[in-house]
Symmetry: C2
Subunit: 351 residues, 2 copies
Amino acid sequence: MPYPISRPTMRDVAERAGVSPKTVSNVVTGTVPVSEKTRTRVEAAMVELDFVPNLSARGLRNGRTGVIGFALPDLATAFSASIAHSVVEAAHARGLVVQIEETAFEPAREYDLVYRARTHQIDGLILNPVRLEDSVVDHVQHLPPVVLIGEVEQHSTDRVFIDSRQAGRTAAQHLMEQGARRIAVLGGTTTDMFAKQATLGQRLQGVLDAFSAAQVKAAPELQVDVRWSIAGGADAMREILAREVEFDAVFAFTDSIAVGALHVLHDYGLRVPEDVLVMGFDNVEHAAYTWPPLTTIGFDHKDYVTAALDLLASRVADRNAPTRAVEVAHTLIPRRSTQGPPRGHTPPASP
Amino acid sequence: MPYPISRPTMRDVAERAGVSPKTVSNVVTGTVPVSEKTRTRVEAAMVELDFVPNLSARGLRNGRTGVIGFALPDLATAFSASIAHSVVEAAHARGLVVQIEETAFEPAREYDLVYRARTHQIDGLILNPVRLEDSVVDHVQHLPPVVLIGEVEQHSTDRVFIDSRQAGRTAAQHLMEQGARRIAVLGGTTTDMFAKQATLGQRLQGVLDAFSAAQVKAAPELQVDVRWSIAGGADAMREILAREVEFDAVFAFTDSIAVGALHVLHDYGLRVPEDVLVMGFDNVEHAAYTWPPLTTIGFDHKDYVTAALDLLASRVADRNAPTRAVEVAHTLIPRRSTQGPPRGHTPPASP
DNA sequence: CTGAAAGCGCTTACAG
DNA sequence: CTGAAAGCGCTTACAG
């Protein structure tokens, strides 16, 4: 059967059922009670005509589309994929669908997205922002309902976060308790810490907190910038090795980064955890299946996302309610990759 | 600045610029030329009022929303995430946005999606179908423009596929060339091969083809059903080990399954590739970073997705054009995990 | 190149 | 519980 050029409308259904369009609408939306007899007739007519409501028309009339947007830097990383999965599932459970956009770490694309939100194609937006300082949130006049995900220090918008600073501190403490003293940090350098990425900055700050508390000196030569992916983690690990510095542990700011680091350490002949401890962050499925299994900081992705959807729903319902920030608990998940004490890696003497 | 209850419309812009709404529309859509002077006045008015077009209204009028749907079983697996990433990027490049839905391997959810497509919220749908036999595609009267992704034997719908049977054959041949004779197949059993999942069935058929060609006897005790995830791969590998059968290679039908299998083999004390060869399928980023690096069947995810979007665009433009099926090339990517010959695993003698 | 009218398909007051 | 009217914001013929 060919796809029809024009689909039946409520008016067609109404004619066939011998009622007014309003009555069909009542049956479809279910907001106003309809007599059993009429409802049956209308439903029969809908089936016969294969009627499907036009949501553009409904959206135009209601100002709601039932679609929310989810914007994140890169859908392909394990953590992003896990969160996106949770968003889609949680939205589905609420009768919402999700439009996904990638910002590719470019503020301009983030801006586009917010702009699109304002075109009424979506009711609201969950935004995993690119950067702290120039987030679109501060630069758009009429913001649609937005919930931020991540450690953005931003008080004009609802947000969900984990305490990344505390988590960074917990991670570094754990590594030191296992005997590490020279921790390579794959996640960013001190200098650009606040300028670039809020999450990175906070995790690094937590690490430095732990160093201070343990009276361990921070070692800038063990900090390195990193792309947020497996390949990025591998590159960063190679960079550390190329510096020919001593280290006995690696703290990667995401599990994907840790996977890349693990690979390079194996390749280099360093054993984990006998020589070097390694830990990640996020507790993606994969972390339990690396070799050795990866210690990480975990938090409930479903809770995280549920909190975001709750905030968004509230914001859509009431634009003037006070802004809220919801913290989701995190916890250390110790696995074999940090079973110390590590022997440590001493670079070969320079020629 | 508070979010305004009602946003400015073209009419407001027209009034402010002293022109008709039609002229504003001409400026916005750019289809009809507008004099430089008028255009400037209109654009100024748009900026002053912070005008944003209402896409629901445009969609109602045009019958096009600029949104496409992408439906897949589970967004969180590495392969799905990679494909979804490519879909979003390729769509973005064409000025389209993507609504993502998960079918959770449930035909009912697949049906919902197609139904939603018909509500005109999306212009078309790229569908990675759950099953062969009861795909929604055969059960819906008025199908919206749909492109299938995957090895569905289905000729009434446009589709993009790789030759999974040939790929399965190539994989098994490669393992045998490396010296393997007893290949554990993590992907499905012969019995349900055609009943359940087209892709699985074809890959398995390819493996059987290779066995025949090499005059190697197929071993049903080495075939196992598997959930399409890392944990599923681990479970399947444990299942094979629990059967206490000999094997010298593992062919996992996705890289994620292979990652789970690798983990369990390590855990069991079997060395890859010295004792057992392992290979996967899909060539996700991760495959190059397992230990040892994972041999796999690769194909260009971007090409794959681009082909799907091209087909969808053609279908949206012409509902009556003949159906097309586009094959995307695949290739064996040999890495260390299959560097044979393998010693093989012989289970301990029963007590 | 610009304008006045009509309508896409739905739902919200307003009557009955 | 049901109906007739109006309008959400845009764009497509149709005139000028």
